[in-house]
Symmetry: D2
Subunit: 337 residues, 4 copies
């Protein structure tokens, strides 16, 4: 249930209503928009007398909210959420701020990450990504550099000033992620609810990927796990879904998810065309499409030498290809403003 408070109502009156609702065993979420305040009620609202609520002086309207996702629901929070990084000194994502996240699939060496980071920064990237812990389908494949990889990423941050995006797979490693600006939850962990709950207790921004064959609703419900535990800094990421068509691309990029999610939620929505297609040759055209569709950001894999990459080489752009792609993205964003 959602209660829209009339514009200009004093905070103590809102507080009063809020306390009364909490006594009814409801969780109350308060959102302060530019013009008015909204209260979202989570829990069993059957006992609430809606007519009485509507008759209150300070209440403008009361609406039932059927969607199972509450905290992420745009109905409760009409303004776009803007995610800030580095205590407000870094780049932002959402509300018109575009995140151009680039870097290799996995951290392989100090030389590699520093080189790629400088290259993508020059091309306009404002975030650096790289995997230290890698979810690999086979236990016999390269599993990432682990903690050593995290250290190299921190060095990249110090050197380039770019905030870092990297994946957490195992709850027990969370302690090493303190300095990580954006913790990525990979597609295989989108419904690892215990992990999500823990991420609701930290201060880092969470980049939550859609499941391998996850629905849009499931993605929002997973965000809800994080937000319900206290962390509202969540970025949603479309990364392709599993369909019957896999002859020419690894997954099917579901680009309509961008306008759909933008309508359903106030959280920023970005796209990963590299994992969605699995093929570098498709990334430039799909990156242009992502920008045109109105996404809040994009995450692109870039590798100094894709043919020799320890992971996901076939989907990585070279720095040169990334430069051209980034330029196209910026042009399209200008065109549609």
């Amino acid at each position: 249930m959602v209660i829209m408070i009339k514009p200009g109502v004093q905070q103590d009156k809102i507080e009063h209503l809020r306390n009364w609702l909490e006594e009814k065993q409801l969780i109350v979420r308060e959102y302060q928009g530019q013009e008015q305040c909204v209260l979202g009620l989570i829990g069993d609202t059957v006992s609430i007398d809606v007519d009485m609520l509507r008759s209150l002086d300070i209440v403008e309207s009361v609406a039932d909210m059927r969607d199972p996702f509450k905290a992420s629901n745009r109905a409760l929070h009409p303004d776009d959420t803007i995610i800030q990084t580095m205590g407000g000194k870094g780049p932002s994502i959402g509300g018109g701020n575009f995140g151009l996240i680039a870097g290799p699939c996995s951290v392989e060496s100090r030389e590699q990450v520093l080189f790629v980071a400088e290259e993508v920064k020059k091309a306009g990237a404002n975030f650096f990504r790289g995997g230290a812990f890698k979810p690999r389908t086979s236990p016999y494949d390269f599993q990432g550099l682990g903690e050593e990889g995290l250290d190299l990423l921190m060095e990249v941050k110090r050197t380039t000033g770019l905030p870092i995006v990297t994946e957490l797979m195992d709850i027990r490693n969370l302690e090493f992620f303190d300095e990580v600006d954006v913790i990525q939850v990979g597609a295989r962990n989108t419904q690892n609810y215990d992990l999500l709950r823990e991420l609701g207790k930290v201060k880092n921004t969470i980049l939550l990927k859609r499941g391998l064959a996850g629905t849009i609703k499931e993605l929002l419900m997973s965000a809800e796990y994080i937000m319900a535990s206290g962390n509202e800094n969540v970025i949603l990421c479309e990364r392709g879904i599993r369909t019957y068509e896999s002859d020419y691309a690894r997954n099917t990029l579901d680009l309509s998810a961008v306008p759909i999610l933008k309508k359903l939620t106030h959280l920023p929505v970005i796209v990963d065309p590299s994992h969605a297609t699995g093929r570098a040759e498709l990334v430039p055209a799909m990156s242009a499409a992502v920008a045109a569709a109105g996404a809040d950001g994009i995450m692109i894999e870039v590798h100094n030498d894709p043919a020799k990459a320890l992971c996901d080489g076939p989907q990585s752009l070279t720095p040169e290809e990334f430069r051209e792609t980034a330029a196209k993205i910026f042009k399209i964003r200008e065109a549609i403003m």
Copy 2:
């Protein structure tokens, strides 16, 4: 098998080789590119001595072609096919020419089609679409005006000068489609092979939609049925595929199919975001994405009064919404040129 002829070889020498190959029971397709000629061999090429072919004076190279689609294969025809309409006096699609096709799902009345046609023409559309014969899931739903609808479409053509795109469902109606510029094959008939074969014998351009859950390869094989019967004027159309995600959009628009198809085939590739999403509110963002992805055209449903449409109202734009969407498309095309 594909034989690249050296640049500058005289036609009679090519003819000579061609005759020799045809005597071996092969079908030979000849493509005259800007610089050189290519011969594509269809049939059982086992008996051909490749080394002998390679040693011929006039042959530059011989390549095996594994793809089951031949006539539509870009390897055989490196240049983009440009589809012309109205005997060259109408708009073209392909090779840099963009087709903006718009109109209502079904022809409902003279007033309706004339009004919508004038509106979309003003907004920049260069083709008019409208259904006279409608494939409806239920036998109890409106099935279209039939021949009367075709007559109204011809009146639109005379009045506005726009070439007409409309769907043929039943082979036996083909005789009524003489004046139709572009005959559409709907998603439910993409593998109606007898229909495709007949369409290979006519002179109209064919707009071939991808099946409801068709693969990219199947789409190309269906084009092959038309082309193998003699008609090379085929436009391919992505229209969304069936996936598990249907809560927020009717189908999943598979936009990656655009760059994939552009690489595999020389035929023009367009997208129908209206049927792909089934929801008007998603069409503007997806139309922008289609333009950015490099498609050769787009087909958008526009209705004077979507709420009262006899068919597919929820996915139709109003003329006003179409005008804004068209403007965005043109801006993006400029930006990426």
Copy 3:
């Protein structure tokens, strides 16, 4: 809308009500069950006064029927439909009668079909199948023997007494199918509505396959096209659906469709495990499962020499394998009776 007539009501009273309803522009379908009569109303029932209907002496109850499929709906026709063949002298399908349909994918020669037919008959098959017109993905593949194939099938029928199941692809060939006992509509034509409408006008039984990625509802709606045109002899056939999993089987056999369809409709439901899996080695286990799940029949591809089959060899059983599979099917049917 469905009107249940009280048991024992005289036919002239029912006729009277029926005429009155037909004057309201409704189509009325009458089903005579073992105990009582049911009237199904198709069309715009808004103008009908339900309370008045309920108050009639002869009416037991009136129910709204939301399902878009009417004629095939079990609510309208609680008893199983039993399809008879050869004017009642051949085998039946439905209502406890099991159809064991076997034969090669395509008719290749007189010797082949006669040999296979004798073999499958000995093993217990009561229908013979074979394709004369073949829907092939590539125009360059073997397309079937056509009319000559139909003649050979008729010879099989004369020799073995088995009724014949064979596919019609092109409406224009319908005239040749007079003597065909069961006309098959293939998965690529499940939504070829003009074809379905024509099949509603003939007397043959129609075996309607589910579309390549068709929903259960679409299958029922396609049956509705046939039945609404007058032919109620329709058998539904699950044949596997297209999913993301295609490494080890061509399609995913959706066996739950059997109990689902048995509940929704009174029409017989059979399964084609050969096309569903595309691999002979999976057919025996899946055939056992089909029998256990309560299907009314099964259609299995059997070839004298699968390795040399002109079509779909890898999914065909040898006569020996078929004999074992048939024996297993019979044992399971006994066990679950």
Copy 4:
């Protein structure tokens, strides 16, 4: 790479070869079949001289194994794995032993689990299942009784003698699962690789469910993570896959996975028709099909009062329905023996 040792070779000679291979940095898995020993090599086998291996006295043959799954591969271990429980005193699964696992979705109370356990045991179940930790899509739904639930399950075990199957979601809870006979990995954790690795270090049997939209290959690779870490007691469980068809069943039961997996791997394969269909009315027919298809076991949800279940009520059988279903399963197993 797989090395088949000749029958009758003495163990010390095999040990000698094994040591030599391990010095080459290969992991060597040894399988002692009824007639001969097989060595499976995991790792980089490029440096191995295959011809030399083949020439050894004790070697019968050497084969390359392309499948990425090694430890679970039937090529390496031709005999069925038989999983024993309770130190050999409990029921077994695999190699002709059928596991009939039944119980409620979640543990709700002492009375509930004891009642249901007695009921299913009487009907022939040889394992009891119940969830203490529940993966729920919404953070606001009932999440299970946790440790208290585990205690109740242990009481069921003491009272009925049935071994217990229950799900682990969070690695950090592993310490509480010591007495659990079969630890279930749910569909949302099938690719939680860190969890799988930990489960490779315990002695419990692991019941590994296929992912929500997981491939057969991914399921085997996940088993590989467990086995590569040392635990070979793994049961695979098909539980329905996500497809476009969800109007009448929650998932599509992919029953062909049973014969496919039985061919690819020596591990036992069971099916969960309750989660696969999500609807109790489909469970009896699908359970019969599971038995007919040759599965090594089945897991069925049974609840004392499905309408009041805290979780997944609509898919639970009543004890009476379970009794009938179990009887049918036993009859079919007899029929196909």
